[in-house]
Amino acid sequence: MLGKSPDDGFIKMASPALQLDNVSVRLSGHLIVDSVSFSVSAGGIGCLLGASGCGKTTLLRAIAGFEPVSTGEILLDGAVVSSPSRALDIEKRHVGMVFQDHSLFPHISVAENIAFGIQTLSSQMREARVKELAGLLEISGLLDAFPHRLSGGQQQRVAIARALAPRPEVLLLDEPFSSLDVELRETLAREIRLVLKQEGITAMLVSHNQFEAFAMADEIGVVKSGRLLQWDNAFNLYHTPASLAVADFIGEGVLVDGQMIGKNAVETELGIIDTREIENFNLPDTKEISLLLRPDDVFHDDASPIKARIVEKAFRGAVFLYTLELESGTRVLSLAPSHHDHDIGEPMGIRLDVEHLVAFPKLPLA
């Protein structure tokens, strides 16, 4: 981040809490992480999002110091902690880590687990810190219990309290919610986010679940085959994905063919889009393009001349997600309020209402 100090006019670099420069990781000869760069500013929450096996956990473990880097540098608070030539010992990095299986120490109580990393403090200070964190994470009633008595969600809270106790520079969370019930995940994710923000802690999590990532993180990096495809906030990832792969991974949507008419209009089967009405877009240089249509881009409108046949429908409470087939055979998705209850096979009037135009050069036919 660049900033100008009003006093002396010098340009100061406020170094980000966590920074990765061109980091690659090789494990037993295989390139697992390939030239990844990003940074998280102090107090920010970042997330690496990707399918399992994409290298995101390896990247997190490299930040923690469990894996060496083969190229590039990892910096914590401006200081290099990992480079191909040297790696700071794990215990000296001051990173907190929350593991996928929580990894609580089963032989000691919850309170002793939380106090594990703060043995150098006086016993009063230790006790105070444990109480403070237990209050924050709402586990005050569990301090005397042993880990095997706790539910998954409770274990998770203890694991986070334990990692936070030594006031780490960065908190790393490896798939923190994957072992929890689906209903619990997003609630806990939001709650933990509040705690982290309250404490001003920089955090980095790894997840394969985009809703978890959206609920928790300020900035998200989509990882595929060891490469970072895009580093952006949730809104932009969804509405302006930088590549087809990101578009494919984030949210639902379909690609439809389009043709540029002049400079300011795109013609599709669903009508012509006037790009002057859209604020934020970038178009490829080709004439033939592929357009990403999200379900919320396709509106149900009985008055519309464009009709599509309902192929599938899924009830989602407030809305229906319809899969519709156009005359040409192209399929699109549409969200409609659930009082618009149509049967499969019925025709339905639709129109486009595109606020974010996402287009890629047309894919060659496979």
Binding site: I90, E91, R93, F99, H107, F116, G117, R162
Partner: protein, 546 residues
């Protein structure tokens, strides 16, 4: 009740007779002998047994825990070899290692002779540790029992989730302090299980303490019975010993439960091994090398040297006789144990009742019983039965049947079954649990009859476990000394008995032939065990104890 569970309960009652007999002996007056024992030797039995247990505890922990940590957490040239080689001393029965080291280290042995020649000393002019002492016995027992601690500690360390150690590291622990603060406390219940097994074996040992002239419970039982001729007093001593054993059994089973709570999760990877280089490598070799070489390599070499010196006198008709007796006893016992174990396992599977599992629990106590206790517990009821039968036959037919059962090998096989059936039961149970009830149901739904399912589903899956059960019991019978010594028919010799006799005649070199035979046979189950090590991550059950 159906015949199957009923006979299961009957069987467990019959095989539990020795325990009941020994325990009930406390209600019978033993007269002056007990007063005599109490006034003279009892305190010594107890203090010696305690001193042995304390010494062996320290010995096996020192020899077993650290190598277990080194081979799981670190990687160095040869660490994979040490991983299984550290088990090898299990193949040497305690009495055999005691005889071997005595032969090597006593006054006339090669070490002292060479020292005298080299330095021109003569006998009595120099100090040399006396092997036939309490300290010597502790060293001998520690050298052959530490693998139980090693085995359980290794399994516990290997089963610990790598992320638990990593969590400790991320909370500011070095690898070393993570060992003391996390890995070791987590392995503690498993180590205690291993330690209690070692102490049960220590209490059961007869051959070593007898040879070293240390009065403990086992030698006391033998002496009270053989020397003083009092069965009741011997049984009462056995009951006291049994009390100690039951304490150990409770500690063991409590620790096993504790170990389950200390489970650190299954969907996690083990810690990557850290390479050892430089000067620390030397320490690693010392820590792993000393137990293997002193507990196995050195005694094996010495036995082989003696056996080759005395090879002319080994392969005799007498030797063939002992070998035949040993093999026959082992074969009969292992076959009987397998059949009974199958009977029990299927009985429990087909009629799973509280009572039948209680019966199985009673049966499984046998593994903890010292051979001398089993012998007393078996002899008393058999002698009573023989007397009754003989009195009846004399009165009715004027024909004395004499010692119909207690003078024959039958009583020996019965005693072996009491002691070793649990080993067969554990192994067969482990095999049978691999066959889930849904497999039977799947077979039935495909139209197969029960016998076809048994043949086509159960037998192929169980085959390995059945062979292991046979082998384990076979080798244990081959090694067994105290019960055989007390119960054998007159002039009936086995390899173990012959080893014992020759050693007690100070013909240690001559004893090497039968001793080496026992050691080589005992190696087979140890090799099997080490091969299954790779797979075993859980706390091994008693059935895996060779």
């Amino acid at each position: 009740m159906r015949p199957w569970p009923l006979s299961l309960i009957a069987l467990s009652l019959i095989l539990a007779t020795p325990i009941f007999v020994v325990l009930s002996s406390v209600f019978f007056p033993a007269g002056d002998i007990w007063t005599h024992l109490f006034e003279t030797v009892l305190a010594r039995y107890i203090s010696n047994s305690f001193a042995l247990m304390i010494g062996v505890s320290i010995g096996v922990l020192a020899l077993g825990v650290l190598p277990a940590w080194l081979v799981t957490a670190y990687r160095f040239p040869g660490s994979k070899v040490f991983e299984w080689a550290l088990l090898l001393p299990l193949a040497i029965p305690a009495y055999i290692i005691a005889y071997t080291y005595t032969g090597m280290l006593d006054v006339a042995g090669p070490l002292q002779s060479n020292l005298r020649d080299a330095f021109g000393w003569s006998y009595g002019e120099y100090w040399f540790p006396e092997i036939r002492s309490l300290g010597g016995a502790i060293a001998m027992l520690s050298l052959v029992f530490y693998p139980y601690v090693y085995l359980l500690a290794r399994a516990a360390f290997a089963g610990q989730s790598g992320s638990v150690m990593e969590a400790a590291r991320s909370l500011g622990c070095s690898q070393r302090s993570a060992f003391f603060r996390v890995a070791l406390p987590l392995a503690r219940p498993a180590i205690v299980v291993g330690l209690s097994i070692c102490l049960m074996e220590t209490l059961a040992d007869y051959g070593t303490v007898q040879y070293f002239g240390i009065s403990t419970f086992t030698t006391g039982i033998y002496r009270t019975w053989n020397g003083l001729g009092s069965t009741v007093a011997a049984a009462q001593l056995a009951a006291l010993l049994l009390g100690f054993v039951f304490i150990l059994v409770s500690i063991e089973s409590w620790s096993r439960k504790q170990a389950q709570f200390f489970n650190t999760g299954s969907h996690s990877w083990p810690s990557p091994a850290v390479p050892i280089v430089g000067g620390r490598l030397f320490i690693a070799y010392l820590v792993c090398g000393i137990p293997v070489s002193l507990g196995f390599v050195v005694p094996l070499i010495q036995l082989s040297i003696w056996a080759s010196i005395t090879s002319d006198s080994i392969m005799t008709a007498d030797f063939a006789g002992y070998l035949f007796n040993s093999l026959t006893l082992a074969a009969i016992t292992s076959a009987a144990a397998l059949i009974l174990a199958l009977f029990i396992a299927y009985g429990r599977r087909l009629y799973p009742t509280q009572l039948s599992s209680a019966a199985a629990r009673v049966l499984s106590l046998g593994y903890a019983l010292p051979g001398t206790v089993v012998a007393i517990g078996v002899l008393v009821p058999f002698a009573w039965l023989d007397n009754r039968v003989s009195a009846f036959m004399v009165a009715r037919f004027d024909f004395n049947t004499g010692l119909l059962l207690s003078g024959t090998a039958f009583i020996l096989v019965f005693a072996y079954l009491v002691r070793f059936l649990p080993i067969a039961m554990n192994t067969v149970d482990a095999g049978l649990t691999k066959i889930r009830p849904s497999m039977d149901e799947a077979g039935r739904s495909m139209g197969l009859g029960p016998m076809t399912i048994l043949r086509r589903v159960h037998m192929p899956i169980m085959r390995g476990s059945l062979a292991t059960a046979l082998l384990l019991v076979f080798v244990d019978v081959l090694k067994e000394l105290p019960a055989t010594l007390l119960l054998r028919p007159f002039n009936f010799n086995t390899l173990a008995i012959r080893t014992y006799e020759l050693a007690n005649e100070e013909r240690l070199a001559d004893a090497a032939g039968p001793a080496l035979t026992i050691v080589l046979a005992s190696l087979i189950p140890v090799i099997l065990l080490s091969r299954s090590l790779e797979r075993a991550k859980d706390v091994p059950s008693v059935g895996e104890k060779p």
